[in-house]
Symmetry: C2
Subunit: 323 residues, 2 copies
């Protein structure tokens, strides 16, 4: 089995080798820029690991793995327009560096190129791969729409929030794993087990992001700690706090979550409320419960004799991350 680091090398080399045309430059320059910004490349790596677990060479699934990464970057590009985000991975977003029209259209081309790469899946798996991929693509958009809707709603429930992050973040991890499995000739049932492993791990991953945003080590987190609080963003932590707060605390929370203040005081006061209500512990517990659910799906594959150790290590590392 190829080492994980070698998979990373394989992926970054292949991404660097995707040959976009020179012209029209307005279309392809932003795509090259976006892909050069890097990122963890978690999705393609998981996809290749899945193909490997079912005994396939990672090279067989390489094009679909790139398709998944290009698709993921396309969603970030369009999300950044909608969220009016100035920065992505510490660099200017495409709509800031160029303009919105260029960001819309180069995003569309990225989506098409992602499909093109995905359609290079091995012929016997192609039909199912396409089905899984496009279902996930639609769901990611649904997740983004719910996320935007939530900004304007004051009655978002925790189950609704969990469903939103499942759609926006988790299904694509699941789909990538399922696609890798299908490229490795896995049965539908086994591929589906990996899908559910990815979904639950993805939810845990996002919940952990919510925790790290408030409780991460500023030295290691890489983003501003308390960024979600400053942006009045609904997260598991804020929703849980509103749920548990008595009337007085609720009023204080509402004050902060409707204020446009961008001060340390705001972060500190909201964090103090979280602390008082034991929100961190609640958030860590639910994160862990999704992590264990993920491992449950994996153990079913282990019982069937598959070597799931690479995924166990991967998931454990993800749960220990500090950024």
């Amino acid at each position: 089995m190829i080492e994980e680091n070698n998979l990373d090398g394989l992926i970054s080399e292949a991404i660097a080798q995707i040959n976009f045309p020179a012209s029209p430059a307005e279309l392809y320059e932003p795509i090259r820029y976006t892909l050069s910004l890097g990122g963890k490349r978690l999705r393609p790596r998981l996809l290749l690991m899945a193909a490997q677990m079912f005994g396939e060479k990672p090279e067989t699934a390489l094009m679909p793995s790139l398709g998944l990464e290009v698709f993921h970057n396309f969603t970030l590009l369009h999300d950044d327009i909608m969220d009016e985000a100035p920065l992505r991975r510490g660099k200017p977003t495409v709509h800031t560096k160029w303009n919105s029209n260029i960001a819309i259209l180069s995003g569309d081309v990225m989506f098409a190129e992602a499909c093109r790469l995905m359609s290079k899946a091995p012929a016997p798996a192609l039909n199912q791969v396409m089905e899984v991929f496009f279902k996930a693509a639609v769901e990611v958009c649904e997740g983004q729409q719910y996320d935007m809707n939530f900004e304007k709603r004051e009655d978002v429930t925790i189950p609704e929030y969990l469903e939103m992050i499942r759609l926006k973040t988790a299904v694509l991890l699941g789909a990538g794993l399922q696609i890798g499995a299908l490229c490795g000739n896995a049965t539908s049932e086994n591929a589906s087990l990996l899908y559910h492993f990815g979904c639950d791990l993805g939810i845990a991953f996002q919940l952990m992001d919510d925790v790290l945003d408030v409780y991460g080590d500023p030295e290691k987190f890489g983003k501003q700690v308390g960024g979600d609080i400053l942006a009045n963003k609904k997260t598991y932590l804020s929703l849980k706090a509103f749920e548990k707060a008595d009337s007085a605390v609720n009023t204080e929370l509402k004050h902060w979550y409707t204020s446009r203040e961008m001060t340390d005081e705001k972060v500190n006061r909201v964090t103090a409320i979280f602390d008082k209500l034991g929100i961190r512990r609640e958030a860590e517990q639910i994160t862990e419960s999704y992590y264990f659910k993920a491992l449950d799906h994996l153990s079913k594959l282990k019982e069937k004799g598959f070597d799931t150790s690479a995924f166990e290590i991967f998931a454990a590392k993800l749960m220990q991350r500090e950024h």
Copy 2:
């Protein structure tokens, strides 16, 4: 063979039956709205006719034909944002009726749904269908980018313009025909002949649009005659006029094509220049030359014994259209 009108019925019924989810409404309501605005449905009809010519039931290619139509409508939706167009088919555009974010994201979902429908092509053809479709999808975006670039350039040549309309309009007609042929188990060579028929016919179609915009019967054209002139849009006619104009006429043309005036006088004066320079005749000649090129590809299929009459009738009608 199913009559052309029956194909239309099959298509409109199937489009009406596409079952989009109710929620999130912000995402699916604009899609339902866009598809309800109608249009000529030329692309799916051509696709089904192609499958039929190779002896396949149109039903076999129905899902890909819907995919093509949904994709086409997605490109219009995103183009309308970029062009800041207030109306489409006489109704408010999605970004006007809702907002830009909703138009971006519901467009993205339409693209994904289009792919989903396209991937229901018959299994033996799937690989090639995907390749043809995504190549065309990328090229349509390239065409849109060139079109936007041309707005800011004063040195656009006629060959550049022809290449732009080939990408923006013609390749999708060609791709639809090729996909229909592949769904009908045509050989690559025969499918490719239909592709080139569609491309050349598509260029003729767009050039005719340019002519109709200036010389169409206002009663029948459905849009404002002279709309391209008022919008200072580069078309075959305007580029040819600049090419043929002497220095004095060139100055006059430049005056009008940099003016923001939206008057009948502007339309009349520019049309008078076109008349003096014989531009209509030039435009009709090149339109006809692409029409004949298209028929040449078709005749090669006829020589092989295929019944190309439906396409001949279709192309002839397209060339006689008045709107």
